[in-house]
């Protein structure tokens, strides 16, 4: 009931704004297409796609916006959209620009994937620190262990500008150590498993920054595409692999210099027999071998790339319909891949390079960083599910036997689980777009039931434990503008750390335990 009332009030508000703003102004006569194209690329493309085909946010083109009221669209651009990342552009873009933008969007078809070639990549390489051998060889700040570092991808309210940065925090003192400006929203942070000083930050617009954690500065950057979150680091720290949604390719970089070494066109036959060009899903390096695994979202394939001469590829086909993210288990030899459209998580044996089994998941499985935990002698995996369906659950699988143990009812759609060997609860973020989005639910590892709901604030998502498991970090994202820290056992609020629209949280401890929740012993 509460929900209906809130929604009703909001629609009245939106409608009244729409009526008052829509008082019969005609569009400016000359719509400067070029100017609008540039304005779109500078303000909208990082979320809505450089090709108008959508990315984090809906596709904006003549097809998807057909029949939509220009007045309502103008209002939406001015005020932003509540409970989403869409910011208000009132005061940032002029009224005539907003009106012309609406017209531009409603008349522009989805564009062809703009190319981004190996040459483009090479030309985009920037060097900020010429000689890294002259940098100090230990941290320039006080910290017990570099594993205590937690990186937060702060999006910035507008997905770009001053608020967009990778924020690095000491997870024992809950203080900010350094901030790396990223121009557009930081999205993914990966750490070098072999050398603790390096981290890699990927932005919404596919720039990768190589960050020196000892001195908290970016040393190099390269633009690997137009967008796409996929990025992985090899176990020896020598290679980075990055994949894009636009265009459909992936690239292996030399981690030392960020020079591109080999590009892969992502296309293949999907499970329904159609030849498709594909977005890049997750890319993962594993502690068990010198390989990368990459999911081809639309082709439903997982490719295993050997890190040797020529970077040969083994293709594992028919993994699922619309793959997305994945996590590792069993010393990194097994890979659990989420498949959106058939609501399964497929277990892959990376050693034999074949499918072990397709496991039942909830609706639209999105495993985020994944979570696996040893409980009473068996390894349990926890799978979150993105979709807001009639029944919303978190799946629990026995990863030794590869079978479903339980579907735990939770209060809404979920996006990312967190677990730790030393923490009693598995945290899942509720993302259903109403007041539930403020909350994170905690599942007791033993009873496998939800035992507590935290009201974190903002759009609460991406929970992550500190490396020692003592603290639970959660982003109060969207307009929440802070990271909230809880004691993992008492669940008391311990600290708030201010930043603009925080999203993904990545502990350096992850390189030690491979998948959140596993103990470092699992890697031996």
């Amino acid at each position: 009931m509460e929900l209906t009332i809130t929604t009703l009030k909001k629609s009245i508000l939106a409608a009244s704004i729409a009526v008052l703003f829509g008082s019969g102004h005609a569009f400016a006569k000359s719509d400067d297409q070029h100017k609008m194209h540039q304005l779109y690329q500078d303000n909208c493309a990082s979320c809505h796609g450089a090709d108008h085909g959508g990315y984090l946010a809906p596709a904006l083109n003549s097809e998807t916006l057909k029949g939509r009221s220009p007045t309502a669209l103008r209002t939406l651009i001015m005020t932003g959209s509540f409970e989403t990342l869409m910011p208000p552009f009132f005061g940032r873009l002029s009224d005539s620009d907003i009106r012309n933008m609406v017209k531009h969007l409603q008349t522009t078809p989805k564009l062809d994937n703009p190319p981004w070639t190996l040459q483009d990549m090479k030309a985009s390489l920037k060097v900020y620190v010429k000689d890294v051998s002259k940098l100090p060889n230990k941290p320039t700040f006080k910290i017990d262990s570099m594993d205590d570092i937690i990186g937060v991808a702060a999006r910035g309210k507008y997905g770009r500008g001053q608020g967009s940065e990778a924020v690095f925090i000491n997870s024992k003192t809950h203080t900010i150590i350094g901030k790396i400006p990223t121009v557009t929203a930081a999205h993914i942070i990966d750490f070098d498993p072999a050398n603790e000083r390096w981290a890699y930050v990927k932005t919404d617009t596919a720039e990768i920054y190589k960050v020196d954690l000892y001195t908290m500065q970016a040393v190099r950057s390269i633009k690997t595409g137009w967008n796409g979150p996929g990025m992985g680091v090899s176990r020896d720290g020598k290679y980075i692999m990055a994949g894009s949604f636009v265009p459909h390719n992936a690239v292996i970089l030399d981690a030392e210099t960020l020079e591109p070494l080999k590009m892969f066109e992502l296309e293949g036959i999907d499970p329904d027999g159609k030849k498709v060009s594909s977005d890049s899903g997750m890319i993962i390096g594993t502690p068990y071998a010198d390989i990368f695994a990459i999911a081809l979202e639309n082709a439903g394939q997982v490719w295993v790339v050997d890190l040797k001469d020529g970077f040969p590829v083994t293709k594992i086909k028919n993994v699922g319909r619309h793959l997305h993210d994945a996590f590792l288990t069993h010393k990194g030899k097994k890979l659990m891949v989420a498949s959106y459209d058939d609501s399964i998580v497929t277990a892959i044996d990376l050693e034999k390079r074949k499918i072990i089994k397709k496991l039942k998941a909830g609706c639209v499985p999105h495993v985020g960083g994944g979570a696996a935990v040893k409980v009473d002698g068996r390894v349990l995996g926890f799978g979150t599910n993105f979709g807001t369906c009639e029944k919303t659950v978190v799946s629990v699988w026995d990863l030794d036997k590869m079978e479903l143990v339980k579907q735990i009812p939770v209060s809404g759609g979920t996006e990312s689980p967190a677990a730790h060997a030393n923490a009693p609860y598995v945290a899942v973020d509720i993302i259903t777009k109403d007041r539930r989005a403020r909350t994170v639910q905690l599942i007791d590892k033993k009873s496998l039931e939800v035992v507590k709901t935290l009201d974190v604030g903002g759009h609460a998502y991406f929970p992550e434990y500190s490396a020692d498991g003592k603290f639970l970090y959660i982003s109060a994202g969207y307009a929440g503008d802070e990271v909230v820290v809880y004691d993992s056992t008492s669940l008391k609020k311990t600290a708030n750390i201010q930043m603009e629209s925080p999203a993904g949280i990545f502990s350096r401890g992850r390189v030690k335990y491979m998948t959140r929740g596993l103990s470092p012993d699992e890697m031996e």
Binding site: S16, I17, L20, F82, K157, Q162
Partner: protein
């Protein structure tokens, strides 16, 4: 649960003692999150945003400003419309909430 009831009691005590109308900072928090925070933020606004922050501002000022926007004695295309959707009680709650937040 104990902490929550304690909090609730102290919040009620606070609101009764500090304000003639019983403003609820809880109701203010939820209204602010739904109506104001998108532009003005909670503790601070975006470094890139053209909107003033509201946290820690004087309660009476916030209340009178919102009422002026609502009855259009203060003109702003966007604020006249947004404030127009708020009741006296909403304004009271929102002002009470933002004024008590540390920026």
């Amino acid at each position: 649960m104990k902490t929550l009831s304690y909090l609730l009691i102290s919040v009620f005590a606070l609101s009764f003692s500090l304000s003639s109308q019983a403003a609820s900072i809880y109701a203010g928090q939820s209204k602010a999150a739904a109506v104001c925070a998108q532009c003005h933020g909670i503790r601070s606004t975006s470094a890139e945003a053209p909107f003033p922050p509201l946290a820690g501002r004087d309660e009476e000022y916030l209340e009178s400003a919102l009422k002026q926007y609502r009855n259009k004695t203060r003109i702003s295309e966007i604020m006249n419309n947004i404030a127009g959707s708020l009741s006296d009680r909403d304004i009271n709650n929102i002002a009470s909430y933002y004024s008590r937040l540390k920026p």
